[in-house]
């Protein structure tokens, strides 16, 4: 589904990604781990089409289509979803209104009618239950005054609403206490299917106890330096990132 080939990306003059290769098939969960500053968040931003980063070489394909010329919203319409590490606040715009706009924009782009209000309400009810979200929460301004945990839970709620083909969870575990982590992971697992794929970006193995990856990649200094199965995450946890740094 997602095919990243020799991806190089820079911000300003600084090259951050130095030749990334990843293949993700439908139904798979991939974890990308690595120390701070290794390029994990840059990778997610580049896949989502953030224009602050310049792709200097290589390609990103989604279902065989080159994403290079697609704007961020066009990538979203094709099913790319990014759960932000730091979700932004939009004062005065309720979670419900935001989701309604997002869903209908995607439907419009894909030649569908707007979602009828009653159906929208039904989906909202279902998905908020899935993530154990109080419905009052949905009429609050998007991310304004949300706790760290609420923000992350809200990101996964949006993922549930949008049903993306490819979901990238960028440090979704940071700021979550253990109960919230379980709820969020539980939600993600329920959304997992044979048709979609998930990339989990994290520092720690902790989240991977709940969202079990099929593959683990270690990103260091802009390159994938190690790939393996879920046992690689445990090995990392045990030996620490110094092990990787020493080898490279």
């Amino acid at each position: 589904m997602l095919s990243i080939k020799n991806l190089h990306a820079s911000i300003g003059d600084k090259e951050i990604l130095k030749g990334i290769n990843i293949e993700v098939k439908a139904g798979e969960v991939h974890a990308i781990m690595g120390p701070n500053g290794s390029g994990k968040s840059t990778l997610s931003a580049v896949i989502a089409g953030n224009e602050n980063y310049e792709v200097t070489d290589g390609e990103v394909f989604l279902d065989g289509e080159d994403l290079a010329d697609l704007a961020p919203e066009e990538r979203a319409h094709k099913g790319v979803f990014l759960s932000f590490q730091y979700p932004v606040e939009i004062p005065g715009v309720s979670v419900t209104n935001f989701m309604k706009t997002a869903i209908n924009e995607s439907r419009k782009a894909n030649g569908q009618e707007e979602m009828p209000a009653n159906e929208m309400l039904k989906v909202i009810r279902e998905k908020s239950e899935l993530l154990e979200i109080d419905r009052k929460f949905l009429s609050r301004s998007l991310n304004e005054g949300f706790s760290g945990g609420e923000k992350k839970r809200n990101e996964i709620f949006q993922m549930a609403m949008l049903e993306p083909k490819l979901a990238i969870l960028d440090e979704t575990d940071s700021g979550l206490d253990i109960d919230a982590l379980r709820i969020v992971a539980n939600g993600v697992n329920k959304l997992k299917s044979e048709k979609n794929a998930i990339i989990v970006i994290t520092h720690y193995q902790r989240l991977l106890d709940y969202i079990v990856p099929d593959f683990v990649h270690v990103l260091y200094n802009g390159r994938i330096v190690k790939s393996g199965g879920k046992e690689l995450a445990y090995e990392l946890e045990e030996k620490g990132y110094d092990w990787i740094k020493a080898e490279n």
């Binding site: 953030n50 005065g92 997002a102 924009e105």
Partner: protein, 482 residues
């Protein structure tokens, strides 16, 4: 698929013609240009006004001649040549007995373009429309329904003839002829406008609505509005404006007076969308308006305005809280784009005891525009326990626009409680990217963010206006993120 960038968006916006920029060729009767006592008398004669009204105008004109244009506002523009304007223009063949059915077909066509076709109006079961096209009211509906309640809603020219006692008693009591340069000019030459009287204890059953429109080239428009809510009555009044696109600047100097007697309430809502000028800052309406309301005991006046148009705006809808326990409110959204300049705000004059005022102002600046909030909260020595809350928020888009806040507070009573909050923020790239990532294109994302920013004020508008206002915000700001 090629990438659609902000630059493309900007080009699209710039080439987009002003949506309501068309010109209807109605045969008009227009006075020669220039202003002197003869012209003032001629206007009065044309309107078949009584002697006292003519004299009232002449007084105003004499005062105006001695006055100078105010220069304290934070706006720069070429001063109009007041001798190059024609002060009267009316569509021909106005027949007071005419019904909507036999209105000039070209006018009907114009209403259609404006989205207020007469057919539509008839179907709008809750809104009575008094449409001012080029100074003379040509269509008035729902008069009968209102008449049954004793409500008077008619062109002010008609009120001067039919209800002289009311007009004589209240005209100029809130905005005196000599109040300021533009008010004096308006008092001398006003051609028409609306008059509304709600009798004691009557709750007006529908929103009263007026659409103003500048049509004839080179004619200024000087409306005069007088709304009187008698004791214990209630009225909600809507005013909406659109203007056709023109190369030369057009002057718009209106006066609105509201009088809320004991226990009465007036809600006055405005959506202003006069032609803002083109992207180089050429053309556009000069909007120099004086709006003021007087509250007697326990009375309440709310001003709500959405200002998206005009090249230069100079406007301060104010409340004189004369009676004890009276309440004044001001809710405003002012949007400026390209080279627009707005200097707008309010004055809350607390005279009575326990008077309360609220000011919520949202300024949005984009392009190379300048947006200023100017407000005065004045507490007089005998206004015991007066309270004011003011909140002024500014939203900036891009790096070439300006937002300014000039709050004045004068308190002469130690028991007063005055709060003022102000914020300035910028639409962030990160906010736009977040929306993009959820599938929301940049233009829509900005509309969403701006609507969120303006929500506190949009919520104060009557339903049908809120929808129109939201659309206007979108149109006014398309492609302006930087």
């Amino acid at each position: 698929m090629s990438k659609y960038t902000e630059d493309d968006l900007k080009i699209e916006l710039e080439t987009k013609e002003y949506e309501y920029g068309f010109y209807t060729n109605i045969e008009s009767e227009t006075f020669p240009i220039g202003l002197n006592e003869e012209i003032v008398r001629a206007i009065s004669l044309k309107k078949e006004e009584p002697e006292w009204m003519t004299e009232w105008r002449i007084d105003a004109f004499r005062a105006w001649k001695e006055m100078i244009e105010p220069e304290w506002a934070n706006v720069r523009y070429e001063k109009p040549d007041f001798q190059a304007i024609s002060y009267y223009s009316a569509p021909k063949q106005v027949d007071p007995n005419k019904t909507l059915d036999d209105v000039d077909p070209e006018l009907l066509e114009m209403y259609k373009k404006l989205g207020i076709s007469v057919d539509e109006q008839k179907m709008m079961n809750n809104v009575a429309m008094d449409i001012v096209v080029d100074s003379v009211s040509v269509a008035t509906t729902f008069k009968k329904t209102l008449g049954e309640k004793g409500i008077i809603f008619c062109p002010i020219s008609e009120a001067i003839k039919e209800h002289p006692e009311l007009v004589k008693k209240y005209l100029g009591t809130v905005v005196p002829q000599k109040d300021n340069f533009y008010a004096a000019l308006n008092s001398a030459v006003f051609s028409d406008g609306s008059f509304c009287y709600i009798p004691k204890g009557v709750r007006c059953p529908m929103e009263l609505s007026t659409y103003f429109r500048i049509n004839q080239a080179g004619t200024g428009q000087f409306e005069r509005t007088l709304v009187i809510a008698d004791e214990g009555s209630y009225v909600s009044y809507l005013e909406g404006c659109t203007a056709p696109s023109r190369d030369e600047n057009q002057l718009h100097a209106a006066v609105v007076e509201l009088i809320a007697l004991d226990d009465a309430e007036i809600k006055y809502s405005t959506v202003q969308n006069w032609f803002p000028g083109n992207k180089e800052g050429k053309g556009g309406v000069y909007n120099f308006v004086t709006k003021r309301g007087l509250c007697e005991t326990n009375a309440k006046i709310s001003w709500t305005q959405v200002e998206t148009g005009s090249a230069v705006t100079w406007k301060y809808p104010s409340c004189v809280l004369k009676g004890d326990n009276s309440v004044g409110e001001f809710y405003s959204i002012a949007v400026t784009n390209n080279y627009q300049q707005a200097d707008t705000g309010t004055k809350m004059i607390h005279l009575g005891k326990n008077t309360k005022s609220t000011i919520i102002s949202k300024g949005i600046s984009a392009g190379k525009s300048q947006n200023s909030y100017r407000g005065l909260v004045q507490i007089s020595p005998r206004a015991e326990n007066a309270r004011n809350f003011s909140q002024c928020d500014s939203l900036l888009m891009g790096n070439n626009c300006g937002a300014h806040t000039f709050p004045y507070i004068e308190s002469k009573n130690p028991s007063a409680k005055i709060e003022h909050e102000a914020t300035t923020s910028k639409i962030g790239e990160d906010q736009v990217f977040y929306c993009n990532q959820r599938g929301i294109p940049t233009e829509k994302a900005i509309a969403l963010i701006v609507n969120g920013f303006s929500k506190d004020v949009l919520n104060k508008l009557p339903m049908e206006f809120a929808v129109e206002a939201q659309k206007l915000l979108e149109i006014s700001l398309e492609g302006s993120v930087g």
